[in-house]
Symmetry: C2
Subunit: 134 residues, 2 copies
């Protein structure tokens, strides 16, 4: 074995491993940390290198979902801060998530309307090309 973890080792990951697992670049991971959207400021091993836990990775995966569905980074930071603050902030976190749910629904509706229009245009071109002389 090239990585003989001791029995009690919490199995942490390097930034490169996390990049591979999440699909984010190492640059993006450091950027996200600077932006304060990681659960904690990430532990460092002797030498200053980041060690990510599985929990960190799960949190990142949630962040990726929020980002990709259009939540801006400042709002993810706000959510992160609430989570860090711990007990008592659950109502605020719920409100934030509900607001985001609504935004996603709005986006879905907008996209669906666009899709209908694009499909209509596609159908028009198909009909036209079908009915061509030769």
């Amino acid at each position: 074995m090239s990585t003989p973890d001791g029995p009690a080792a919490p199995a942490t990951l390097s930034i490169g491993q996390v990049a591979a697992r999440t699909g984010l670049s190492v640059h993006a991971l450091r950027f996200y940390e600077r932006e304060g959207i990681l659960a904690d400021p990430v532990r460092r091993e002797g030498g200053g290198r980041r060690r990510y836990t599985e929990g960190d990775v799960e949190w990142l995966n949630l962040c990726i979902v929020l980002r990709s569905s259009g939540m801006p980074i400042p709002e993810i930071r706000r959510y992160t801060e609430l989570a860090r603050a711990g007990a008592g902030t659950e109502p605020a976190r719920l409100a934030l998530l509900r607001a985001h749910e609504q935004r996603v629904l709005d986006q879905l509706a907008d996209l669906q309307r666009s899709l209908d229009i694009v499909r209509y245009k596609v159908a028009v071109y198909e009909d036209y090309l079908d009915g061509l002389p030769d």
Copy 2:
């Protein structure tokens, strides 16, 4: 009447009126024209001011749909160029629209996945808050 159009007047619109109708800013309208995504380079009245036809506005509305569903400006320009080129380019236009349709479908699927996850989290918080002591 404050706008006594002559009988044969084609009823053109100023840039401000088009902005009001489309929701785009006058800046954005000029920007779009520079980017070459308007059907024609827009007629000008004596004095250099733009006069938009209803056809121009319809084209803009299509552009707005394409943009808001994620088509980048260079691709809208490509589509516009094909349309300007006229007969014979219909297959290319159809292909472009179909590709966009697929992109929209992908976005819808992604968003739906995100929505499911956000809803799951919302449910978790709701359950937690429901079950609170007081």
